[in-house]
Symmetry: C2
Subunit: 497 residues, 2 copies
């Protein structure tokens, strides 16, 4: 075997460990019974440790190092594989195993501490743990010999190429243009459509989500729709891409739009070139680009007027009673209803980025300006007041609401807003090539799938987010499209412009 | 670490590999989409090979050997663990890896060959493969340095302590007593109850199986009910014991009785002492004892008159229309309807052991008397005629019907009949302590579960089948109870005795 073949053989073994751990994850998050977990944790930890040892084995490290040093002699895709393997190794290789294990243990305990604190609406019970996580997360970064600021390291981890400078510019634009626009929209709302809170039995919602699978050409020979408490997409390769929804009988939009959102993630993963399956380039290229696809499907397609002109009759046929006095215009207003709310995951498309901005500014203050855990709630609440004009009264509805920080995921949130902005820029590029509304009206989502496969999906991780945006839209990322998109859509809906 | 601790650490690692492979198996058999399988096979094979290498590692072999040689100094349970580990190793250790791999590959290809041959009703297409499997299976036995006849080795593999001598005696008794009794029953049948073939919608069947979960005290915090093509029970430890059924709208008995059957297997696994989870003694002791539990629940409890006196009203409330002209006596006759049939898995309780006898005699003739693959169909068909008085016209309904042989599972079938016989002997022992019908009529299956836990389930593999039967029934296994049970039940139902 030459070095590259050795690398591939060692990678494949690691991939197998990751694969079985992924399948455990699917089972854990969808159906494993309660008492399966203590024993499962023990078994899982053994397999994880084995996988970890394989990755940090001398043999693997040496072959990656050797190939990395001579990578310019490799064909392009091989070089990309080596670069990626090298980068992953660099994140881990200098962390003392004892410290790494201690951090993992802290995170696993923190999950419960956070759950308890949220349930009891008691930030004080989580504060020290959060401080400890942040301290250890910083410590991990010091082992990576990066010259960048710690928060820049984190931002780049979740979205290659991003940093505070770029995100600052992004959020500054939103703060300047979007915050006043949202206030204007909120001041011009008609009466809230009453149907939103009506009762929609689960069986009907399920029937409609299954109908959506057909509309979006989701291939059940390569996928599976299931229920779980939190909707998610799960995949191991393009032949096995599953997703989940949940059915809330008093909030039907949850299954419909979380469903279409996950269908966006799933379509991305299903359309990646099969030839990448045996490489470490086999999945979506970044959090931001992934989110751009899910939000494109959910919001640009799924919350469009054109979409419901075609599909509302089907929904109405399933729910004749609760929708009997609801015409398609009212329905369209309902699914795009703008509201000040405390909870990010329940926010509408327009106010959603403001929720992200709150989190970005808090994380930035923590990692870059040394904000203390004592002062964190005050900053959070101040920002919520500033952007959404509401007063946080319970930390459970404030800085305790998200799971991310308890898992050490700092720098992740901004990719959610960035994804929406990518989606808008991609949308205007698409419009130059075809009339999306026409395509939606002719129920031809296959055409959209095909376009996105061609331009984005097939490439997996062989192109960076920056490369994709530049190639698809013929210009670098520009926040103006996002603002334009939101102003056009919500201006027309609420301001008559 | 002392040697025993080393052994435990190495075992635990092997257990983790087995665990993740089991979870893959569950997913594969219940919901994984079609295109998941090629990549899965690749990943699975890597993990299997790792598990195999761990088991055959020098370190593990040496520590097992060392402990086995001094096992009499160990506490009882530790000694049992070592004996079991030693025995498992002896089955594998002398097989040349190349030959083992070739055999596994043959079996995996044979699966498809058999499926095709069965579908096309063409034994000729499977004959050579079957011959090859048998040849290789024999070859594997030669590596095990056993002095026993090959078929005795196989019989003991599936049921410790069993051999041709014992099975011959068992089946001789059935042949002598049961075959003429079955013929008499068949000659005295009333009109077949018409409701059996009626249409019972899936939703109602599902509701009833969920009701059965309550009746049998199946704990959903430690289990899960799901659908699959072939019903099965799956478990990793007492905290995670799942089972599946299938819903055939034109044959409701499938979900009800396969459901109760699997509930028997599941109850056994759930009631094993938790302290055995970290050992190789953690599961049911043998195929035969496992089957005794599933058949006890299915037939002795689930097909009893007392059971339906309590639960028939519930079933009737779910299916008022198709059961409107069916009283409980007719229903009881229907669920115990005796029929000559070609297919083992569809056979009733009374004729079932005759199907097993056919298979036992064929396997015995192959392994012990060198029966050729050419002559196998003739022997099969002759035995079916002799015991069931019907003529096999299609090999698909004859010797091609079962999956077992294509998987190299020779010696497995007899445990099915043995299980029913164990169940009968256990039943009469139980009657000495309480009136089972009374307990069933008061819907107190918890009492039955408790009794079986106390006498059988809790022990896992720490007691052999022989030990259990002797302790529970105060005498060695005796076929007479099985014959007595069948004659009492079916004599009363069909012959008025």
């Amino acid at each position: 075997m030459n070095s590259f073949e050795t690398f591939k053989a060692l990678q494949k073994k690691q991939q197998a460990y990751q694969y079985v751990l992924n399948v455990l994850g699917w089972d854990s998050n969808t159906e494993a019974p309660k008492h399966a977990f203590p024993f499962r944790a023990e078994m899982q930890s053994i397999i994880s440790q084995e996988a970890f040892s394989l990755m940090l084995s001398k043999e693997y490290q040496e072959v990656v190092k050797e190939l990395f040093e001579t990578k310019d002699q490799l064909p392009k895709q091989d070089r990309q594989e080596i670069e990626r393997a090298h980068e992953s190794l660099q994140k881990m290789v200098n962390i003392p195993p004892v410290e790494y294990a201690a951090y993992q243990k802290l995170l696993s305990l923190a999950q419960r501490t956070w759950e308890g604190a949220k349930k009891e609406n008691n930030y004080a019970a989580f504060k020290d743990t959060l401080g400890e996580i942040i301290k250890k997360a910083r410590q991990m970064i010091t082992y990576r010999n990066q010259e960048k600021a710690p928060y820049d390291v984190l931002l780049d981890d979740y979205e290659k190429g991003m940093n505070m400078e770029k995100y600052d510019a992004f959020f500054d634009a939103l703060r300047k243009d979007l915050v006043p626009f949202v206030k204007e929209v909120l001041n011009h709302r008609p009466k809230k459509p009453a149907f939103i809170d009506r009762h929609f039995p689960k069986a009907g919602q399920k029937e409609f989500v299954e109908y959506l699978n057909e509309v979006f050409h989701y291939d059940l020979d390569r996928g599976l729709l299931k229920e779980s408490v939190h909707p998610f997409t799960w995949n191991t390769h393009p032949g096995d891409v599953r997703y989940t929804v949940r059915y809330l009988e008093n909030f039907m939009f949850s299954s419909i739009f979380a469903g279409i959102h996950e269908l966006g993630h799933a379509t991305y993963e299903m359309q990646i070139n099969d030839a990448l399956t045996s490489t470490n380039l086999k999945s979506g290229t970044s959090m931001g680009i992934h989110e751009s696809q899910s939000r494109f499907y959910e919001n640009v397609v799924g919350r469009s007027k054109a979409f419901w002109e075609v599909h509302y009759p089907k929904l109405k046929s399933i729910f004749p009673e609760p929708l009997k006095d609801v015409d398609v215009d009212t329905f369209y207003l309902g699914i795009n209803w703008v509201e000040q709310s405390f909870i990010r995951v329940e926010a509408d498309e327009l106010t959603y980025p403001l929720h992200i901005m709150v989190r970005y500014e808090c994380e930035r203050a923590i990692f870059n300006e040394g904000l203390s855990m004592e002062d964190l709630p005050q900053l959070w609440n101040k920002k919520v007041k500033e952007y959404l004009n509401i007063d946080v009264e319970n930390d459970a509805d404030g800085l305790l609401q998200d799971v991310h920080w308890s898992g050490g995921a700092f720098g992740y949130f901004p990719t959610y807003a960035l994804g929406s902005a990518y989606a808008a820029q991609i949308y205007y590029a698409m419009l130059k090539e075809f009339d999306l509304d026409d395509v939606i009206r002719s129920n031809n989502i296959a055409h959209v799938n095909g376009w996105l496969k061609d331009k984005i999906h097939q490439f997996g991780k062989t192109k960076t987010p920056d490369e994709l945006i530049l190639e698809v839209t013929q210009e670098p990322f520009n926040v103006k499209y996002y603002i334009q998109y939101l102003k056009e859509k919500y201006g027309s809906l609420y301001l008559g412009v």
